[in-house]
Each structure stands twice: as structure tokens, then as C-alpha cells.
């Protein structure tokens, strides 16, 4: 098979796979090339598609590739799909997810210990959005459920693997948090105005 034809096949496979993404192994087994050749083809395609008349691009996700629209199209799509494609996660859900991603497998009690607040609802949200799954049971009495992140987690954040997660930075000063500053200021004013 010529490499142009291989590209055509990969394009077709990417299309039918859609948001599920296409694993490198799938490309290998369908067109009968080895992993590094398959990878090279996709990299070439990525470059071919870097022109203005292309609305699609290939991104790396967990163990493979996904066909998505280019970022600049988002503005047009907001007109097209009137509801946002997916609601973004709440702060509570994001914090919980960060803890699970870095500390998995981890029990609910341990998550709550770190956050200092009940996190049942947040975990439930994450499970129902398939970002988090049960990843075993703790030893000992109670056999608490342990949670871990899913492949969907990687896809959702556009990560190739867990190693791509930004490293935790314990020492750095807290980033200025305008939202809560504003809250606090308003709160103070309100209270003082009573």
C-alpha cells in the first residue's frame, strides 16, 4: 500500500472512531505497519493539515489519536450547537479529580481528609462523567472503595498519559486568586454595611 493510501485509511479510521479515539495498535493491525511507521504517518498527516483550509486536526490522546476540530472553530460552533458541548467541572470536582489523579488509588475518606470537606457528591459527579472509576477496595475492615482515573480522564484533558500531568508544586506561593479575593472584599463590605 502506498503511503498516501495509508493516510486515507487512517483518516477514515479516525473519522469513524470519533471521540473514542484511535489506538496506535488499531492502525498497526488494520494497515499492517509497525508502530513507529504508523506514528510517522500520523505525524506527517498532522503537518499536511496545518493549512488554513483544514478545519480538523489530529491530537494525541491516551495511547492513540483523536480527530477534533481546530480551536478557532469553537466560536462558530457556539452558534451551531446552542448548548455548550459539555459543562465544565465545578471547582469541587476539579479539586477532587486532582487528588484522585495524583494519589490513586485513594478512598473517599482520604480525599475528604485532604480537602477538609465532604466530597461524596463530587466523586459521584466524576464517576457519572466517567472521569473516575472504582479501582479496587482497601484492605481491612470496611473495605472502602478506592478510586482511580479513567482513560476518559486523559482524553478529557488532552493528555497522552498520566506522566504528562503537571508535577505537583508544594513550595510555590499560592497563585493570586482573584475570585475569592473579590468574594472576601464584598463580604467584608456587606458585613460592615450592616
Amino acid at each position: 500500500m502506498k503511503s498516501t493510501e495509508m493516510k486515507a485509511v487512517i483518516e477514515g479510521l479516525l473519522y469513524v472512531s470519533g471521540e473514542d479515539g484511535l489506538l496506535l495498535e488499531q492502525i498497526e493491525s488494520v494497515i499492517g505497519v509497525n508502530g513507529s511507521d504508523a506514528r510517522a504517518l500520523v505525524e506527517e498527516m498532522k503537518q499536511d493539515w496545518e493549512n488554513d483550509a483544514k478545519g480538523l486536526m489530529i491530537i494525541d490522546i491516551a495511547g492513540g489519536y483523536q480527530l477534533t476540530t481546530k480551536p478557532f472553530l469553537a466560536d462558530y460552533f457556539e452558534k451551531f450547537v446552542e448548548a455548550p458541548r459539555r459543562s465544565s467541572l465545578s471547582q469541587a470536582a476539579l479539586e477532587t479529580l486532582a487528588i484522585i489523579a495524583y494519589k490513586q488509588p485513594i478512598s473517599r475518606a482520604d480525599i475528604e481528609d485532604i480537602r477538609g470537606v465532604k466530597s461524596e457528591k463530587a466523586i459521584q459527579t466524576l464517576v457519572s462523567r466517567e472521569l473516575v472509576k472504582e479501582a479496587g477496595r482497601a484492605e481491612g475492615t470496611g473495605r472502602a472503595i478506592l478510586y482511580g482515573v479513567t482513560t476518559m480522564f486523559l482524553t478529557y484533558f488532552g493528555l497522552k498519559s498520566l506522566e504528562e500531568l503537571p508535577p505537583l508544586v508544594p513550595e510555590e506561593e499560592d497563585q493570586s486568586d482573584e475570585a475569592s479575593d473579590l468574594f472576601y472584599e464584598n463580604f467584608r463590605q456587606t458585613v460592615e454595611g450592616l
Binding site: 471521540e19 469553537a74 499560592d174 456587606t190
Partner: protein, 262 residues
């Protein structure tokens, strides 16, 4: 006076404490317990004045802070000679250590959450389609995956994805509805499709949208085209698919694109 507060809530007592620490420019590694306790209690107190439901976690933290403050106030015991080793241990047991550790720990996940949020915001601008149904390529004799490889939750999530997809497609349909497609325009479209195919077109393909007004307009347009002898419908026997083609040798007619808006 109306205040529009546009923020997310504090995520809990640790979040509030981190905020106070920053606000007061306090060194996290050397927290002045008396000051922070006072500020914290002040905040909680004001929330209660506003008759807010203060979540129990905030009250637990208040108690912890008060306890810590009282421990710090206790006079330090002079260590006895033979307790030198223990003294070292005692030195490490600063009552603030536990809280400091928790705050540092929490802060790093809070930052990680922030980074995830940024990734999410980038990713959310990329759109994909749901996977195509390839079951027509499956061989029916293909073996079933081993038991346990597929779970009930796989099945349920497949269903949830389907429902989600339907929800996403909904607004597109309502959008079309509002535009109230004129029959004339639909007639032109149908003729175009038939011309492009130069062949029989199955009835179903002319109804690609499960949208009521679109279906009705398409149906009326077809009836109109039949009346004007532009198209011919065929059905081999009862209940088989109806196919449609342009009537051979029909005199082309002028169709008014705005004709009888539905």
C-alpha cells in the same frame, strides 16, 4: 444596596484559611495562631450574623484552631536532663505542624486543580463526533468477549452517551423548526438531490431529520412534485421501500422557492 457577588465559594475551611493567610500576608510556615484564629472566628461569626448555614466542617476547624491557640498559650515545661531525647521529639510536636502540613498539602492540589481547569478550557474548545456505528462490518459469528470483560456499567455508559448525543443534537433541530422551511425550497432541494443521484433514491433518504416540521414539509413537497409530474414513485410490493426518481421526459417547471411557507 445590592451586591452582585461573582465568585465561587470557598471550597472549605482549608480554602478559607489559605485565603486569610494570603490576605494577612502570613508565613505559612510560621502561622501566628492567635491572629489567624481571631480572623477565622470573626469570619464565621459574620456568616452567622448573616444567618448563613455554616457547614459543620467550618465549625470543626474553628474548634481545632481554638484548641491549638490554647495549647500555644500553655507555658512550656522545662525539660529534665534525662528527657533530652524526648525534648527533641517535643520540639517537633509544634501544635501547628499538623495544620501546616494539611494546608500545604491542600494548596498543592488546589493548584493542580487550577492547571486541570486550564487544560479543560483548552480542550473544551475542540469538538469531536460520536463514534460511527460499524456494526454492519461485524461478522455475526465473531466470538463474544470473555465473561467479565464487559460489565453492566459499560452498557449503561453506552446508553448515557447515546442520551447525551441526543441532547446535543436537539438544539439544532429546534433551530431548524424556527426557520419554517418553505415547501417550494424543499421541492428544489429534492429535485437537486434526484438530479445529483441520477438514479433511484429511497424514500427514507429524503427524511434525514427526525424533525416534525421538516418531515411534513418534505412530504408535502413530494406530493406537490408528484402532482406536477416531476417525480415518479415506485414500490415493488406492499410494505417494501418506496423509491423515487425524476420523471423521464418531464417538462422542467419553474418552482417558486418561497411557495406556501409551512
Amino acid at each position: 444596596m445590592e451586591y452582585k457577588v461573582k465568585i465561587d465559594a470557598f471550597e472549605g475551611p482549608l480554602d478559607l484559611l489559605l485565603h486569610l493567610i494570603k490576605q494577612l500576608e502570613i508565613d505559612l510556615y510560621d502561622i501566628p495562631v492567635a491572629e489567624i484564629t481571631e480572623q477565622y472566628l470573626d469570619f464565621i461569626h459574620k456568616m452567622q450574623v448573616l444567618e448563613l448555614d455554616v457547614a459543620s466542617e467550618y465549625l470543626v476547624m474553628a474548634a481545632t484552631l481554638i484548641e491549638m491557640k490554647s495549647k500555644m498559650l500553655l507555658p512550656k515545661q522545662e525539660p529534665l536532663e534525662e528527657d533530652l531525647f524526648d525534648q527533641n521529639m517535643a520540639l517537633e510536636e509544634d501544635p501547628r505542624d499538623e495544620l501546616m502540613r494539611r494546608l500545604i498539602d491542600y494548596r498543592q492540589y488546589k493548584q493542580a486543580a487550577q492547571e486541570l481547569k486550564e487544560l479543560e478550557q483548552e480542550q473544551i474548545r475542540l469538538y469531536t463526533k460520536s463514534p460511527s456505528d460499524l456494526s454492519c462490518y461485524e461478522r455475526t459469528e465473531q466470538a463474544l468477549p470473555a465473561e467479565g470483560e464487559v460489565t453492566v456499567s459499560d452498557m449503561i455508559s453506552a446508553l448515557q452517551r447515546l442520551l447525551k448525543k441526543k441532547k446535543i443534537n436537539k438544539p439544532m433541530n429546534t433551530k431548524i423548526e424556527r426557520q419554517s422551511l418553505p415547501i417550494g425550497k424543499r421541492m428544489i432541494e429534492i429535485v437537486d438531490v434526484l438530479k445529483a443521484k441520477r438514479d433511484l433514491v429511497s424514500f427514507d433518504t429524503l427524511f434525514p431529520y427526525p424533525d416534525r416540521s421538516h418531515v411534513v414539509v418534505t412530504f408535502l413537497a413530494l406530493l406537490e412534485l408528484m402532482k406536477k409530474k416531476q417525480i415518479t414513485c415506485n414500490q415493488e410490493t406492499n410494505f417494501t421501500d418506496i423509491s423515487i426518481c425524476l420523471t423521464k421526459g418531464a417538462e422542467p417547471i419553474e418552482i417558486d422557492g418561497n411557495e406556501s411557507s409551512y
